[in-house]
């Protein structure tokens, strides 16, 4: 649905996007991560047809963003960073205007505006001036604007910024419900949000893609090893040695009394065997689970690793 190849863009001499390639399948929700100034917004502006790229190509729904921009824009809902809106219009007038320029036939406008108001939970402020709304509500109006024409593709630049926790959850649920029918790219700085809503993640740093995978794979891949947390009820002085002897186990460490951390190769799942061992020996199994690395750890590792690399190169 979205195909990005070797995108490069700089502002004057300042490079913003150095070489970005990725693709998004139809119905997928892609999380776009990266530290500040990584080039997320710039990439999204290029995809939305607002900025041209210096080189490289991008297609949305099969149309080239630079040569068939209008076709792309017909199929696209875009929420820019900070949701720029017209402060002197009421919410419903504003949405009507966007419905019109997005080519919705006149007789469907009222109905589409109503649907967008409901989806984004802004029905009660529809007759208020946008300039008098709180930041969170303005953000929701921006989202409603992007959704109004039921676009195939949605590009949302930090859609949950400024929302309260309840609204964040509602918006996340809304975005999740868009998956399957719509293709979504969303950028965010809230990492748990990505694990919750996105099927796949692209992490960019200094204008380049540094990782691209599902949130689960990213966390296990980074770890390199799989850690299994094991807790038993009874005292088992030999357990450490016994566990170490199991085929495939690399290392065992004791975290607390009767709690162990078993490390194996990441492509090996020994949970079943470990459980059987402990039960057969009568140690009393209390807990057994895979220890997770958070996406936060992955993010920090990936985006600081490269700076260290650059330092050593210099």
């Amino acid at each position: 649905m979205i195909e990005v190849k070797n995108l490069v863009r700089s502002y004057g001499l300042q490079p913003a996007v150095r070489d970005i390639s990725f693709s998004v399948q139809e119905g997928e929700i892609l999380g776009f991560l990266g530290p500040n100034a990584a080039g997320k917004s710039t990439t999204m502006k290029i995809l939305a047809g607002f900025l041209p790229a210096n080189s490289g190509s991008a297609t949305v729904a099969g149309f080239d963003v630079s040569t068939q921009s209008i076709e792309v824009r017909k199929r696209l809902g875009y929420l820019p960073e900070n949701a720029p809106l017209y402060p002197d219009m009421t919410v419903s007038d504003y949405l009507k205007f966007h419905a019109r320029i997005k080519g919705i036939p006149s007789r469907q406008i009222t109905q589409k505006v109503q649907a967008a108001l409901e989806k984004c939970f802004i029905v009660e402020v529809k007759n208020k001036l946008i300039g008098k709304l709180s930041k969170g509500y303005r953000q929701r109006v921006g989202l409603a604007q992007a959704l109004i024409h039921d676009p195939q593709v949605l590009i949302l630049d930090e859609p949950t910024v400024g929302l309260d926790p309840v609204a964040i959850k509602e918006t996340r649920d809304l975005i999740k419900s868009l998956g399957g029918k719509h293709t979504v790219i969303l950028s965010t700085h809230i990492l748990p949000e990505v694990s919750m809503t996105c099927g796949r993640v692209v992490i960019i740093h200094k204008g380049k893609v540094v990782a691209e995978d599902t949130p689960e794979n990213l966390t296990t891949k980074l770890q390199g090893v799989r850690s299994i947390y094991l807790e038993v009820k009874n005292e088992a002085p030999n357990l450490l040695a016994e566990l170490s002897a199991i085929q495939g186990v690399n290392r065992v460490s004791i975290t607390q009394a009767q709690s162990y951390l078993v490390e194996t190769r990441q492509d090996l799942d020994l949970r079943d065997e470990l459980a059987r061992w402990v039960v057969n020996k009568g140690y009393g199994l209390i807990e057994l689970r895979t220890e997770k690395v958070s996406l936060e750890d992955v993010f920090v590792q990936l985006t600081t690793q490269e700076s260290e690399e650059e330092l050593t190169h210099a």
Binding site: K45, A48, G49, F50, L51, P52, I70, R73, K74, L76, Y78, P80, N82, P84, L85, Y86, D88, M89, D93, F97, H98, R100, I101, K102, G103, Q145
Partner: protein
């Protein structure tokens, strides 16, 4: 067409909810009423030509003040990003905004209709010049607005847009005055390019297609430049 009118409607909405527009309209009406009083009451002439000429002069600074916000404001607040990522072409955006500004100017002109009506009720003016004067004013003002729109597409700051627009309009206006310095062929060209030169006939009730063509082709050309300006700005 659909998109153009949607944008025109939006621009008119901005004008009618902006204090600047009301201040401009008030000033415009006040000065015109004053000039009308001087000519009609004190000089006892049932004639609008002086008032019309005066309006043409007021347009010099009124028009750039009307057009200054068209693109500058959208670029400053970032709404340009949403407008230009909707399925709207640069041409549609330029035409929609231009028509919105013309609509605003036409509304201001309509507010002065009571002046000629007053003449018709209490005097015996020539009806022809009244009509052609208003047509001339609308064309002259539209030409100025087109220049102002071009200036607005170039500058991110509204004040800079207004000053640039005013400069361009003043330059065109002065061409007829400077024309006399040169010898015939140059003079003729300069006079042809001068905005006010074409305006005179309208106030006398003469409808000449040459003047019509001049204004319309001028507006078309300047709007075309504005489209190019918007299109190229995206390449920065």
């Amino acid at each position: 067409m659909h998109n153009i009118l949607a944008i025109t409607r939006k621009e008119l909405h901005h004008y009618f909810s902006s204090p600047i527009a009301y201040a401009l309209a008030t000033m415009f009406l006040f000065i015109n009423g004053f000039v009308f009083l001087m000519v009609v009451y004190f000089q006892q002439q049932a004639d609008m030509s002086v008032v019309t000429m005066n309006m043409g002069v007021i347009f010099l600074f009124l028009c750039p003040l009307i057009s200054m916000r068209l693109f500058s404001e959208e670029r400053r607040t970032g709404t340009m990003e949403l407008l230009m990522t909707a399925p709207v072409t640069e041409t549609q955006a330029v035409l929609g905004k231009f028509l919105g500004a013309v609509g605003m100017l036409a509304a201001m002109l309509a507010l002065t209709f009571h002046l000629p009506l007053f003449l018709i009720l209490f005097g015996k003016p020539d009806i022809g010049p009244l009509w052609s004067s208003y047509l001339g004013l609308l064309l002259l003002g539209s030409g100025y607005l087109a220049l102002g729109l071009l200036a607005s597409s170039l500058a991110k700051n509204q004040v800079v847009a207004a000053v640039t627009g005013f400069g361009m309009i003043l330059f065109l206006w002065l061409l007829s005055a400077s024309g006399d310095i040169f010898s015939p062929p140059v003079t003729d060209i300069l006079k042809y390019l001068s905005f006010f030169e074409h305006f005179g006939d309208f106030t006398k009730g003469v409808l000449d297609t040459r003047h019509l063509i001049f204004y319309l082709s001028f507006i078309g050309y300047v709007l075309y430049l504005s489209v190019l300006s918007i299109r190229n700005r995206k390449w920065r």
